[in-house]
């Protein structure tokens, strides 16, 4: 026992370290790098999509390949880039934030991660199957997904694996937060990031099995002669959509609540002032999570639901604006009369605030059923969800990366390049996605490989900006690489205004975060 205690820092090196590790930081690092890789894979699909849409007429691909690309862009971004990215943050930060040595279930943690590379190999291999990857969009609506070629089966099994990975990861996070907090850290003293992840983990446990069941029903319709989604056999194609969006809407919050958590850590630090309305932030997060279960119908207002159902989903969707508004107001109030400074993480947080709100407000417009009939399945929707998922989820992760990178690596990143990365991303992001609102209003449907001539000009602007947005992300990789390799030594606290247990550890922190639990006053 004594020798084990003395060798806290000892671990295998090379491949074995990464393959067999049960360490939350190693696993967190792998999650983050994997997420970054998938960000570029799915991003390159987006570049191909924008190249095709640069001009009317078919340019570089066939329509069916275009449909494969939009499907895989969505699936890989959501399940490969955003979700694992946030799990990476959770792995790195939750033990350090609650004063624990590691996650509660370290071997499970290793398995949760190592499922991912295999799942995505299977999913991406569908490109090479006869008939290619499914061309159904990431929503995989039946009966289109029932008639799709064998690549669909690869995606279905990959989703099963991803579901297992997510649920195990979520259970690990719940168990860690509920059992491993340092003495004195009551639930209402936890950092907001920990709170948002606790709630997100419950969402994951609740809805990933629903998705697994839904795609299994598609699998059975495809191969075992069932007719869950086929009207001719007594089934219902709309049932697929109800099931999918019962998963799909909480999924939206799975991808945004941890972003709220990151922003809630960054803004107080650079405002040098505590988070305004901590308790109402916790309650707002919980009510958003609850409401996310009863709004799914707003994704399918045009399927012919009866008026009372449309009214219910319209009102419940509008209601989500209230707790979301509370969060925005609280962040602004945190900045109010603070002592603000604008290092890269703060720039990303402010960018998040402004652009996520644009996405939130267009979401409010989409909630209004009669207007949604016009917006539905147009580029207006594409603009809306990229404002919440790119400017929201992805840019929150970029901000979080700059914020904690000095803590993780022990080195300061290059502030000038970081700021360049922020401004390039923000400018190109808006030039890419803001014009899409107008394309949608003017009548351009989403998911089309070719379009009428009046949409040409704006599509050109969008495509050129999208290439700029994609290229700007290489700068991010360079900054991260540079910081990992070396740079100015980071202090333990890193930021003047930083509060929380993770900043009491050395930079970089010891292999096992807190060998003895700290006491929280």
């Amino acid at each position: 026992m004594a020798s084990v205690a003395a060798n806290h820092e000892e671990h295998p090196v090379g491949l074995k370290r990464w393959l067999f590790t049960t360490n939350h930081k190693d696993i967190g690092t792998m999650y983050l790098l994997f997420s970054l890789l998938m960000f570029f894979v799915a991003g390159s699909f987006a570049m191909l999509i924008r190249a095709e849409l640069f001009s009317p007429g078919m340019q570089i691909m066939k329509p069916y390949f275009f449909n494969q690309l939009i499907t895989m862009h969505g699936l890989v971004m959501i399940f490969g880039a955003i979700m694992p990215g946030f799990v990476g943050f959770a792995n790195w930060l939750i033990p350090m934030m609650i004063g624990a040595p590691d996650m509660a279930l370290p071997r499970l943690n290793n398995w949760s991660f190592w499922i991912l590379p295999f799942a995505f190999t299977l999913m991406l291999s569908s490109f090479f199957m006869p008939g290619g990857a499914p061309g159904t969009g990431w929503t995989m609506y039946a009966p289109l997904s029932v008639q799709a070629p064998i690549g669909m089966d690869c995606v279905i099994f990959a989703i099963h694996m991803l579901g297992i990975s997510s649920v195990l990861g979520a259970i690990n996070i719940i168990v860690t937060i509920l059992n491993m907090r340092a003495p004195g850290m009551t639930l209402m003293k936890m950092p907001m990031f920990v709170w948002t992840w606790l709630i997100t983990a419950f969402l994951l446990v609740a809805v990933m099995p629903v998705l697994a069941g839904t795609v299994t029903m598609v699998l059975m319709d495809r191969h075992f002669g069932t007719h869950f989604f086929e009207a001719a056999g007594g089934g219902d194609p709309v049932l697929y959509q109800h099931l999918f969006w019962f998963f799909g809407h909480p999924e939206v919050y799975i991808m945004i609540l941890p972003a709220f958590g990151i922003i809630s850590q960054i803004i107080p630090t650079f405002s040098r002032k505590p988070l305004f309305g901590y308790e109402s932030m916790v309650f707002a997060t919980a009510s958003i999570a609850f409401l996310s279960f009863i709004v799914w119908g707003h994704h399918m207002f045009t399927v012919g639901m009866p008026a009372p159902a449309e009214m219910f989903f319209m009102y419940s969707t509008m209601l989500i604006a209230v707790p979301t508004g509370v969060k925005i107001f609280n962040w602004v109030a945190t900045m109010w009369r603070g002592s603000l400074s604008f290092e890269t993480p703060m720039l990303f947080a402010i960018g998040f605030l402004v652009m996520f709100t644009i996405g939130g407000l267009s979401g409010l417009m989409l909630a209004v059923v009669p207007a949604d009939f016009q917006y539905h399945n147009t580029y207006f929707v594409v603009a809306h969800f990229h404002y919440v998922l790119f400017a929201g989820a992805a840019m929150a992760m970029m901000g979080g990366c700059y914020y904690w990178l000095p803590k993780w690596t022990g080195h300061m990143y290059n502030e000038t390049l970081g700021k360049w990365h922020f401004w390039l991303t923000t400018i190109f992001f808006n030039l890419t996605f803001f014009p899409m609102h107008f394309l949608g209003l003017a009548g351009m449907p989403r998911r089309i490989p070719d379009y009428a001539l009046q949409f040409t000009d704006l599509n050109r602007v969008v495509s050129i900006s999208a290439f700029g947005l994609g290229l700007s992300q290489l700068l991010w990789v360079y900054v991260v690489y540079q910081t990992v390799k070396g740079g100015k030594k980071a202090t333990d606290r890193v930021w003047e205004g930083a509060e929380g247990l993770e900043w009491t550890l050395s930079s970089p922190p010891p292999y096992h975060s807190f060998a003895t639990a700290p006491t929280v006053k």
Binding site: H376, R447, L453, T456
Partner: protein, 283 residues
């Protein structure tokens, strides 16, 4: 009053496009204003419902812009006034129940205020009773079929844009991808009920100028309605991903006067019975 497709140049210089966008960006707050080439808002509404939707979106857009300006006015004031580089010392407040209640209640009241007109419009949209005629619409991979049960007319409506234009071997014409061989012909000034379904996968029938978008679902019949006020040709597209031909099954509606519609019906019936009697001996 047909839709304006002013830009029919397939390839404008890039720089021009970027400059246009920069000019346009300055006009963002006046979303209704149309520039020379790019449409910034909905297509011109020609039905009572499309008009109401247009107004509803104006209302929502106004509310959203107002909220945005107020919230970020406060934030940007803070960014300029409360910065460390100016030596601003941080305050320590971090809680106020009063203000939390205020900014929970006010958004709630705003939402109630917009939910009222939204609900009224929705209920009108859903009311398909008292229609003068019915058209059945069926989505196929990848074309539309139109049936007029009372008139005994039925035909398919296919994309008429030549493949050579799609494959960039010929210059693209004005209504590229938005033209069909047999448009749906409808009379103006009458409440028309649509019964919409599909034969294979889910499609969605959308004509922006009518404010009508309804999914065509195999095995189910959805109902919606319209009442066109202005004669003209209106164009729309399938809006539910339905496979590789999804972008190539447009909708074209020719709205004509009652008299012209009757003439068209007579002509169609004659054509169909001629085709029928010609086909019968062969069977």
């Amino acid at each position: 009053m047909s839709l304006s497709f002013k830009n029919n140049k397939p390839s404008g210089p890039l720089i021009l496009a970027v400059t246009r966008f920069a000019t346009a960006a300055a006009l963002l707050l006046s979303a209704g204003s149309a520039s020379a080439d790019i449409r910034w808002n909905f297509q011109t509404p020609v039905t009572p419902m499309a008009h109401q939707i247009y107004h509803l979106q104006d209302l929502m857009f106004g509310v959203c812009v107002a909220i945005f300006v107020i919230v970020f006015g406060v934030m940007f004031y803070s960014i300029f006034a409360h910065r460390k580089s100016k030596g601003h010392k941080p305050a320590t407040f971090h809680q106020s129940t009063t203000i939390e209640v205020i900014w929970t209640v006010i958004p709630f009241l705003i939402l109630v205020a917009v939910a009222v007109p939204a609900t009224a419009t929705l209920l009108k949209m859903e009311n398909t009773s008292d229609s003068a005629m019915t058209v059945r619409i069926t989505g196929y991979q990848w074309k539309w079929q139109y049936d007029y049960p009372a008139q005994g007319i039925s035909f398919f409506s296919d994309l008429s844009t030549p493949v050579a234009q799609i494959e960039n071997q010929e210059p693209k014409n004005k209504h590229y991808l938005l033209q069909v061989d047999h448009p749906l012909v409808l009379p103006v000034g009458e409440k028309i009920r649509f019964q919409i379904t599909a034969a294979d996968v889910i499609h969605s029938w959308w004509v922006p100028s009518f404010g009508v978008k309804t999914d065509a679902i195999p095995g189910f019949i959805n109902q919606t309605w319209t009442e066109i006020q202005v004669p003209g040709t209106y164009r729309g597209q399938c809006t539910e991903l339905c496979g590789m031909g999804h972008a190539f099954m447009p909708i074209v509606v020719k709205a004509v006067s009652q008299k012209e519609f009757q003439k068209w019906v007579t002509a169609q019936k004659a054509r169909m019975s001629a085709a029928h009697s010609a086909a019968t001996p062969a069977m």
